[in-house]
């Protein structure tokens, strides 16, 4: 049996596959490390498929239509203001921006897509500056910070979640979080901002420098 067809056979329902063909596929899987790796990948990607997907910001479709039909082709549409200090427009939902700036910018450059990663030495403490850029004042907004894995907040020993209320000014608001890496597996930081009955979350992966990957 060819490796390319093994997973096709295994992915089909039991009723849709000849039992003998299925047995061959299962035997092949037992003896072929390449196919086992591929099988594991398919399983993990299947989990990703069933995970919830963040929805686009309200009005994203209308914006895309407006830009497409009112701008000459090939002209790059102006980005919404998610860089710190950039002009922010549009609805509130689309307009809250957040950037993470490290006090000492020695982080590994994040990949072009995905959750940004900050790499720190084991037991190193570093202040992450979270910049919230809002288009209007948000009085009494709630900020919650949750930690997973082996990271902690200095001064909040053992606490995995803290929350407080504050007034966010129009424009840039800075949130300084003193983060420490407690274990080699690192962890993830989640910042949630609630305003009224709405909320938005932001993620940062914090990983530990190791002998395997000191970059």
């Amino acid at each position: 049996m060819r490796c390319e067809t093994v997973l096709d056979v295994l992915e089909r329902s039991v009723d849709a596959v000849d039992p003998i063909e299925r047995r061959f596929a299962e035997e092949h899987l037992m003896s072929c490390s390449q196919c086992r790796a591929a099988y594991r990948a398919v399983q993990v990607l299947g989990e990703e498929r069933s995970a919830s997907l963040p929805m686009p910001a309200p009005g994203a479709f209308e914006r895309a239509m407006r830009v497409a039909t009112q701008h000459p082709p090939r002209q790059r549409a102006p980005r919404r203001g998610f860089w710190l200090g950039a002009a922010v427009g549009g609805s509130l939902a689309a307009a809250l921006a957040l950037a993470v700036v490290l006090a000492v910018p020695t982080f590994r450059a994040p990949q072009p897509s995905g959750t940004p990663q900050v790499r720190m030495a084991l037991n190193e403490m570093r202040t992450l500056h979270i910049a919230l850029d809002t288009p209007e004042a948000m009085p009494n907004a709630q900020i919650r910070v949750a930690l997973s894995g082996a990271i902690g907040l200095v001064g909040y020993d053992g606490q995995k979640e803290i929350a407080w209320r504050t007034n966010l000014d129009r424009g840039a608001n800075e949130l300084a979080l003193p983060v420490v890496v407690l274990g080699a597996e690192g962890g993830q930081l989640v910042v949630e901002v609630r305003y009224g009955d709405k909320r938005k979350r932001f993620l940062v992966d914090v990983s530990a420098k190791t002998s395997h990957n000191p970059a």
């Binding site: 963040p54 497409a68 080699a184 932001f202």
Partner: protein, 193 residues
């Protein structure tokens, strides 16, 4: 009068375009999010697709299945724009976020508890090349069939199957390596303590 006619024509084209794109916007966004893993970048990527699509509205309307054409443009833009994305990140970095404002649970603590598989995937994903990401995102996550992938990528079935298999093998090995590294690091920290 001539100007008024032109304006009406423009509005009509915009309305035609909107009606044509709307049924596919969700699928385009989903594919873009799977590839970029960022709400902002996904929206931008889809917007870029729409820009190009509007310029070829008449051609697009003639397609029996415009979604395949739109996804074809999307995946090409994703691959081509990678260098631009890589240059874009500097001293500040955009966080991935939850996209729209939401008012339902789960809360941040639940959000923080991602499964270990998803954590491994998030790290391993970036070591794949862009073509591999496209194939895995569209086929194994979004569920497009091989026939649909042929239309989207322009690859022949045999090529597609072998590339898909190679991408899966590579991802599987990356996942395994990430898992073993994490275990090894945990063990070595335990010994040191």
């Amino acid at each position: 009068m001539a100007r008024l006619t032109a304006l009406e024509g423009g509005r009509a084209a915009a309305a035609r375009f909107e009606a044509l794109i709307e049924p596919h916007y969700g699928a385009l966004y989903r594919a873009a999010y799977r590839l970029t893993r960022s709400v902002h970048d996904a929206e931008d990527l889809v917007q870029e697709v729409c820009l190009r699509a509007f310029a070829r509205l008449d051609e697009l309307q003639a397609f029996e299945r415009p979604r395949a054409w739109l996804l074809c443009v999307l995946q090409r833009l994703f691959i081509d724009q990678t260098r631009r994305y890589e240059r874009r990140f500097g001293q500040s970095i955009e966080t991935s976020d939850s996209g729209a404002w939401m008012s339902e649970e789960p809360g941040p603590a639940e959000m923080a508890e991602q499964s270990s598989n998803r954590r491994h995937l998030a790290r391993a994903w970036h070591y794949l090349d862009r073509t591999q990401q496209v194939l895995l995102a569209l086929h194994d996550i979004e569920g497009y069939s091989l026939a649909e992938l042929q239309q989207i990528t322009g690859l022949k079935e045999g090529t597609l199957k072998s590339r898909l298999h190679r991408a899966r093998v590579r991802l599987g090995k990356l996942l395994q390596r990430d898992h073993e590294l994490e275990l090894g690091e945990q063990r070595s920290v335990g010994v040191a303590r």
